[in-house]
Assembly symmetry: none
Homo-oligomer: 184 residues x 4
DNA sequence: GCCTAATCGAGACGGTACGTCACGTCTTCAC
DNA sequence: GTGAAGACGTGACGTACCGTCTCGATTAGGC
């Protein structure tokens, strides 16, 4: 038995696919596999060879996009750190095309188990970031719920659009959470 | 001029459609117009005559389902009222088939503007309920954000599934929010 | 038992329907019941009350249109009479909108037994006309086939459109048929 | 540049579609695309990929069916050849399921320009056959009209059904045409 | 002058077929 | 074996007409 024969995976194709997906993700309208393949100059099968579904491609593309976002602030106070984190996060999420990307990603995750898994991983990563920020000051028992309150507001507003996702929201939310967490 | 001519809308068909939609909504797998029509014993066109899209039917069905849910508690304390409201709400939303219904409704709203509008209306109604509960005790400036924190946690967990939506979550959340709001 | 009570049939509606059908028949594109009803300013049911199918309306409209066409020539010779008859018939049938009417009528007759029956009646009438023209000169045994040869050429060209249906065709055909019939 | 990439057209599917169409064509009742697809064990889209309309499929199927029909008789006499040709043709056309096939084909051609074009091609081929039979004996100027007389009788009777399309008709018609053509 | 009943325009109803779109799989040939 | 190209079976979509079934309004004898 040979360990491996034949042509090796073309990383250029992989990157082209993710970039095409990212580009289309930002357009707000539903993304098709054909569109990704055409935009990437790639055969449809090349996508299915490496990802289990359309949603998986989109989610991976989104995760790459959002990789750089997170600062790990250290201002010396809970309120300072939390404000810095939430401000950065809300500003990023509330700005197009990111808003459209996140909404489309959630839409995909609700229809595709592969995408759902990747979105769970992505959001778990974000929660860990925020947990790390809060951990020094907050009792462990309250951590998870506090984190979900912050990201809950973010996603709830993002998906429904009834209220802004912006810097000022982030600041108010940080202040409220601080009061809640420190009054223990 | 006559006020109206022609056969009137068949209310039995309308109800059959919404009930069929509600039934299928609870099944967790994607709902098709054909399935609704068949389940309701109705022609497809009768659906398209009265609703602009599949999403609109589903959202209307969901809204009818959830109409009765809300208690308007009056225990005499912020913590009592809030706990009662959130406990009831989380328990309802966290129980199948309601969880599936809400997830499907959101999935539809993310792809269909008509459904989105109806989901906005539905969630606005729920926020008003909670606002009414909080209003006596909470400064107006903090109301909206507090409400979004509560429903944010609910939807965030519902959609991602990383943590439970249950009575105990509701109680913890109520306690946290009370601390936050009363420490002002 | 009373012989009859209630409102009588509205002849204006009947005429409006046939005229609307005639008008739409002339347009070459497929005619719908809705279009007839709208054009006639009539409810759909008023059509179905009096005709068994769409085709029946169209065929009756066509028959009324074509009622006046037939001359009963008497030039004193077989060739003269035949030429006169065929010339008139081919010129009428070969001119728009009559061509479209006949084609549409046949299309309808091929899908609708009521229309087929009416088209059979209509064409039977036309064949009788031609038979009457030929009868004085042609042995009875050959009459039917000769008549079918004439109308056969007419319809064959009308339906396929590979060759004209015009006065000169009529004259050539008349001459050929005369030779055939007189050489007995 | 490559001459061609991608999977090739599946000829088995093509044949299955045409055979299914032929089979359904013979059933006298209206043919649907779904029925063809199901009978052929093929997706609907595979039909639309290769034929512009339902009529085009049906006409192509009919043309294949009728390909073998034509004898090219050579009995040494006009009457002999013509009788042989018309007898064979009328017998074939006048026998079920061929009659139903031809009627359905015409019905389709009257509603669908693609089918009309294919029916024109088919009938043109048949006319050429008959022209070739007649050419040695008939002046060119009279050829087309004589041919249209023969096929005219065939189609006229086929479509209206007022008189038989059979061997004896063919013989009488041949005799009449011979008299007409030879008495010049 | 009512009563009865059939007709009218309007339009909603359950159906059937249409032609399109996107999916995820498969097949072909080039590399 | 991987790549682009593209045909394949599948199944939902939204539209167009069909022929039937209500509606309330209108009309016209028979009593």
């Amino acid at each position: 038995m040979r360990a491996h024969t034949g042509r090796r995976r073309n990383d250029a194709a992989r990157r082209a696919i993710l970039e095409a997906a990212a580009k289309l993700l930002a357009c707000a309208d539903p993304v098709t596999i054909d569109a990704i393949a055409a935009e990437a100059g790639v055969g449809r099968q090349t996508i299915y060879r490496w990802w289990p579904s359309k949603g998986a491609v989109l989610l991976e593309a989104m995760s790459e996009l959002a990789r750089q976002a997170a600062p790990r602030p250290d201002t010396g106070s809970l309120e300072g750190d939390l404000t810095a984190f939430l401000t950065a996060t809300f500003r990023a999420a509330g700005t197009e095309p990111n808003t459209a990307v996140l909404r489309t990603a959630m839409a995909e995750a609700l229809r595709d188990e592969h995408a759902a898994e990747l979105l769970r991983e992505f959001t778990a990563g974000r929660r860990e970031e925020l947990s790390a920020v809060l951990a020094p000051w907050v009792p462990a028992a309250e951590l998870d719920l506090a984190v979900d309150q912050a990201f809950g507001v973010l996603w709830y507003r993002l998906l429904l659009g009834h209220a802004p996702v912006d810097r000022s929201t982030a600041r108010s939310l940080a202040a409220l959470l601080v009061r809640q967490l420190q009054s223990a």
